[in-house]
């Protein structure tokens, strides 16, 4: 029993020392979530729009590129960017004329080119509760990632932002597959840029304003982004069993007096711990952001964590049956991306055609996501919730037993 615990601790330590990995698991969903927000925001009709003033003090090619990126994405309808002089912009902000103002300082392009840290200033309007936060998040992602993303995969981004081709309601398999590959490549390349962050975003709140409530469409994105992150984490963590094998540490466990099952439980526990931490942060931020009733938070947290653990055990099962680390990776990716796309973890179900959403809610992540939403919105009755929990635990247990069987039958000896 003790070995279970030391194994989990050992894995936490190892993951803590690879922050880039975690940044990718969480960064990509945020980034994609933001892009999806832009892509589907325009069609909803009810989407609130953020009005952002941009003061470009640098007035260079690079700063214009950033402004351009912002206005281009804004075509989706979420952000409306307007270039202004700084002092005019500040006056208008004081009047509450806009959601936020972005100041690109002089010397911005120089700093970026020389890879020196540089701060973008974002002044937000406190009278708008949700929008400024979304602008801030969007911008910080834009600063850290989209900027590079544009260079790396501008074409794919436009494809997503434009939605499926005319006449079609869904992205074709080929398009999704191509995108999956690109996102995968991107995660690897993005790692190079993520630390240290090149561009920092400094936010200040324009104080002399009053509060006012807004309706939110951001709610649709909370479960989507969360479950996308869970899928990424599940896939990423499942790879670790191959690390244990190629590093031969798995063999050491086999020749120790410990049961390999204790090791497996420890490993899944450490993964569940990571999932829990991510869910805790994501839900606290999300609940605060969306002003949701906190009473549902504990249950939502438990559900999300268990869902993540189930997804991870599923991915682990696939890894254990793969013939090589590479094969395991490709296989889990090839399963993860379609699950993500169809299962409401890339596009919200609400943004999908009905027939597709109907299929999507039958995927493991889609099913878990629907229940998650039910919990958050207090729409599920205790009876069916209890059943759902039983189902989740049951599936996880079966997956665990399959993993254990495979681990003992040959995988660990390799």
């Amino acid at each position: 029993m003790r070995f279970v615990w030391t194994t989990a601790l050992k894995d936490w330590r190892r993951h803590r020392r690879n922050p880039i990995e975690a940044a990718i698991w969480i960064g990509i969903p945020l980034l994609v979530g933001f892009l999806i927000a832009l892509a589907f925001g325009g069609q909803g009709g009810h989407t609130p729009q953020a009005h952002v003033l941009v003061a470009d003090e640098d007035n260079s090619f690079l700063s214009q590129l950033l402004v351009g990126a912002l206005s281009q994405e804004a075509a989706g309808g979420f952000i409306r960017a307007e270039e202004v002089e700084q002092d005019v912009g500040r006056l208008r902000m004081d009047k509450g004329d806009a959601t936020a103002m972005l100041v690109i300082p002089e010397g911005f392009s120089q700093a970026v080119l020389l890879e020196e840290p540089v701060a973008l200033q974002l002044l937000t309007n406190p009278s708008q509760r949700i929008l400024p936060g979304m602008v801030e998040e969007s911008l910080s992602i834009l600063a850290d990632g989209t900027f590079y993303l544009h260079r790396l995969m501008g074409e794919d981004l436009r494809t997503i932002a434009q939605g499926p081709p005319p006449g079609a309601t869904v992205f074709g398999d080929a398009a999704v597959a191509a995108l999956s590959v690109r996102v995968n490549q991107l995660t690897q390349r993005l790692g190079e840029y993520l630390s240290p962050p090149l561009i920092q975003l400094e936010t200040s709140i324009d104080e002399d304003q009053e509060e006012d409530d807004e309706i939110t469409f951001g709610f649709l994105l909370l479960p989507t982004i969360l479950f996308m992150a869970l899928l990424f984490i599940a896939q990423g963590l499942s790879e670790d069993i191959w690390q244990e094998r190629t590093r031969k540490t798995l063999r050491r466990v086999v020749v120790s007096p410990q049961h390999i099952l204790a090791f497996l439980v420890g490993k899944i526990m450490s993964g569940a711990g990571i999932v829990f931490a991510v869910c805790l942060v994501a839900l606290c931020v999300g609940y605060a952001y969306l002003s949701l009733s906190v009473t549902t938070l504990p249950l939502a947290l438990v559900w999300a964590t268990l869902s993540g653990a189930m997804l991870m055990t599923g991915m682990l099962t696939i890894q254990l049956f793969a013939t090589s680390q590479r094969a395991g990776n490709i296989l889990t990716m090839a399963i993860m991306f379609p699950l993500m796309m169809v299962g409401g973890s890339f596009f919200p179900f609400e943004a999908m055609p009905k027939w597709m959403a109907a299929i999507g809610t039958k995927t493991p992540n889609g099913w878990a996501l629907q229940h998650f939403k039910g919990i958050v919105l207090q729409q599920t009755d205790p009876g069916s919730l209890g059943l759902a929990f039983l189902g989740l635990l049951g599936v996880s247990t079966v997956l665990f037993l399959v993993c254990a069987w495979r681990l003992r039958r040959g995988f660990a000896q390799g």
């Binding site: 003790r2 050992k10 031969k248 050491r252 020749v255």
Partner: protein, 309 residues
């Protein structure tokens, strides 16, 4: 004590270990000497419980590895041929983890970790992640992980391969110390010098079979004070065989078109006679090597090839 009886292990059609038997006693170092691919790691794998033997019986400290697996592994230390370490963790964290796998905990675990860090000369850099270590340091840590729980039986699979000379001396000292403290040590290697200097008892293994076993003096005696003479050139093996058989006290170990291997006492004094016989038959000699009695020459005598091929 480690007892191996009629051990056999097959990979498909390949018999990696074939009817291997030996006994390693406590307080002594038992060496398993053989070239790459001889079946040393496979033997170690069957003893450690990593591999399932195809046939035979293996007992570690009185416990059968098949029927009493966990019990047989409780006091067994294993130092695998390939490094088995967590590169992101420090030496201390690695040792603490593997110590806990053998049931150590609390202050005793701490004490043991410190003690093996000291022994392996890693105490000064114990907090650094292993990925920053040199190859020799990783080897020493790999070793330390195998002895952190004070095993009574120890399996060492070529622990000095690819190690700098300083680390090697340190490792060999550590091995001696383990046996001096009463542990049963099984040591595999393909370096004869190492086997000659370190081991109290030796088995020579080739193609999965043990071809000789005994103490160093016993093995030397098998050679009967004979030198090994190798002659390289171009020959007709049949004619060479006939010609040389007529000379007195010469044993032809092996002969083919390019090399002839002979065992004979005082080879240096007889070299000219032998070479004359060969050249009289019209064969060309390019090179000769003479090896005095050693494990190397015993190996050549038994298998007709050099250990380091």
């Amino acid at each position: 004590m480690i007892e191996v009886e009629g051990l056999r292990k097959q990979y498909g059609d390949l018999v990696a270990v074939d009817d291997v038997s030996f006994t390693a006693e406590p307080g002594a170092i038992f060496g398993l000497l053989g070239p790459n691919g001889a079946g040393k790691s496979t033997t170690i794998g069957c003893i450690s419980g990593l591999l399932k033997p195809g046939a035979g019986r293996v007992r570690v400290l009185g416990h059968d590895v098949m029927t009493e697996g966990p019990l047989s592994r409780r006091k067994l230390g294993v130092v695998p041929q390939e490094l088995a370490l967590y590169e992101d963790l420090s030496a201390r964290e690695n040792l603490a983890y593997w110590g806990s796998a053998y049931g150590l905990r609390g202050s005793h675990l701490k004490k043991r970790v410190n003690s093996v860090l000291e022994l392996s000369g890693l105490i000064d850099r114990a907090k650094e992640p292993v990925k920053k270590y040199s190859g020799g340091m990783k080897r020493r840590l790999n070793f330390a992980c195998g002895i952190v729980h004070e095993p009574e039986a120890l399996l060492l699979d070529e622990p000095t391969v690819g190690v700098d000379p300083q680390s090697r001396v340190r490792l060999l000292d550590l091995v001696r110390e383990q046996s001096k403290n009463g542990a049963t040590v099984l040591y595999t290697t393909h370096y004869m010098e190492e086997a000659e200097h370190l081991c109290d008892r030796l088995a020579i293994i080739d193609h999965g079979k043990i071809i000789a076993e005994g103490t160093l003096p016993e093995l030397r005696a098998m050679l009967g004070e004979r030198d090994i003479l190798r002659i390289m050139g171009k020959f007709d093996p049949n004619i060479v065989f006939e010609t040389l058989s007529q000379l007195e006290d010469i044993e032809i170990v092996q002969a083919d078109e390019e090399t002839i291997t002979l065992a004979t006492p005082q080879a240096s004094t007889r070299l000219s006679d032998i070479l004359m016989e060969i050249s009289e038959e019209g064969f060309e000699v390019r090179e000769t090597t003479l090896t005095q009695p050693s494990l190397e020459s015993l190996f050549i005598k038994l298998t007709g090839k050099e250990l380091r091929e």
